[in-house]
Amino acid sequence: MTKLRRRALLGAIGAATAAAAFPMPVIAADRSIRHYWWGNPERDKRTFAVIDTFQKKNPGIEVSGETIGWGDYWTKMATQTAGRNMADLVQMDYRFLFEYVHRGALKPLDEFAGKNLMIADFDQGPLDGGKVDGKLYALNIGSNSQVMVHNTRAFQEASVDVDLINWTWDDFSKACEAITSKSGGKMKGSDDLSLMIEAFEAWVRQNGREFYGPDGKVTATAKDVSGWWQFWADLRKADVVRDKNKTVILDPPIAESGVPVGDTAMSHFWSNQLVGIQAVSKDKIGAAMIPHKPGGKPGQFIKPSMFLSLTRDAKDTETAIAYMNAWVNDPEITSILGLERGIPCSPKVRAALAPKLTEVEKLSVDYFDAIQSKVGPLPLPAPKGAGEVRDAFMRTGTDVVLGKMEVAEAAGMFIQDAQDIVDRAQ
């Protein structure tokens, strides 16, 4: 289909007449760029402050900031993409990066690196998280990793005293039992992670496999899945994890999870969320790794929490890259941003931020340092359809959690579904 024909059809028959009467205004003055991100009140304030600072330092450049919450961000993004009207710079998420890159919505950054985008001294691992098929499509503006957030008071009271970085699944089960019995069942040991595919991916890697193979095939096996669901089924049976009716609420707001609510002692999160979780929790929280498998491979990995990407609709790429560069290098700007979006991958920036951290921020930095040697390499980019596989995992898992389906049967069904979904998406 040629572009012309698509436009004629998509651009709506009627509008064509009207469009003739209203010529498109020149939206972009020469040196103006648009930056689009998902945020929250705190992040929005910081980001607009960054924009002000950047404009002050670069007279003649106008940056327009556009923001909305996560839930609506992607709807608007898709619409703008379809209209070929993406902002010049957009905030990207690891989960969506591949969907957008594979479909050609983003521009690679390699040609700017070293010229006007100074990233040579950045940590290579986190930086590589933005690479797809060998090209850098997204600049890491913060890293994170999975974390088992736990209630330190509950751990103390139940005298759970294990090394929370090196612990095993067995230690985890014991901790759940101890906490549940200590609190008389009022506080369960942990949230039930049956439906949490991100945690399950770590489990698969501990078994020595990736969830997706290099050709986009699903390489996780039905045995991996049934092992995972059975592990949690046993804990449910022992009544040491959260009630099944809370578990099947998918993607709940942070504040509805066990630790913030106070009915469990552990919940699964990402390390850049620690500040947000502490804000809604009564007790002091701590950070633990996902438990390990004795003799298994490392399951967890460090991934970019957010990226900044250049879109195919960007016109003034030079200005956009200048802005991007300031984001990760300019001391004044990076100090405004702090750790709000995750841990920066520039060692210089990290060093500059270190003295000014709050207690929770320090917790996340310490946690980050502690896990460095315990994590595995970044998995390969997920194929198209990965988002749908995630939904299928939660859907089938719900039947298991509610006891409407046998573990083995459900596991086989999920693997079959997952492969079908990926095949259909290609």
């Binding site: 509008a15 945020g39 607009f48 919450g69 709807t75 209209g83 969320q273 947000g276 809604v280």
Partner: protein, 298 residues
Amino acid sequence: MEVSVEMEEAAKIAHEMRLRRDKRARNGRILKHIFLIGVSCVMLYPLFWLLASSFKPENEIFGSLTLWPSEFRFDNYTEGWNALPQSFTLFYVNSAIVTALSVIGNLISCSFAAYAFARLSFTGRRFLFALMMMTLMIPYHVVLIPQYVQFLRLGWVDTYLPLVVPRFLASDAFFIFLMVQFFRQLPRELDEAAMIDGCSPFKIYRAIILPLSLPAMGTAAIFSLIWVWEDFLAPLIYLNDIKSYTVPLALRLFLDQEGKSAYGQMFAMSVLSLVPVVIFFVLFQKLIVRGIATSGMK
């Protein structure tokens, strides 16, 4: 003599009947009130919950089932008003502009179309009416993108035009259909008499149909205001600059699935966002009540 005894008797019976009827009516009224108050409690519970939540510290909103906050925090209101990069004052002004224009547009253009469909005969009426009904049936999400492309080409994106102009062009078939149903109820003789007197269709519309349809117009005005005020999807898609955001859009800036949300402030601002609508509702429902007077006219 006998006659007067009978009359007295009759008057007595009538008096007793009236007493009995009044008593029955009073009992009925009391029962009605008890019932309505009971229903009101069920209806209001969520609002109390919302109100209570807006005073609660963040970590109490989800954990506890009690309505009463352990401490009242007014800072959700004071801080929430200025928590975003722009103050809510601006968002209210924006919402007011969009809503006022939209309501006016809806009422004028939809009543025009409804008058044609309900009271005038013309070629193609059934066909056009069916087309209009069709626009009610299509799920909005699939026309979102073609519509965006269209407004983009008109250069209207990031202005209020995509929100307001369609409303002056009777884009909301709900109101057309609503008014059609009410207009069709009015007696035909009125138009016919007016027509014989040489009134133009426009005069009939203005002098007969509109004044007799105040309940319907009041209802349409209330719905139109509420829906536009709460409309979220169109502003989300068409407004980019935060300075142009409307109140519902601003409310979405409080929440972050992945990071730090501000539920308390969001609830506080949600409560405030209901205030103008409730005021408008109370004022405009008089229009519906006034319908009693007009119905006596026939």
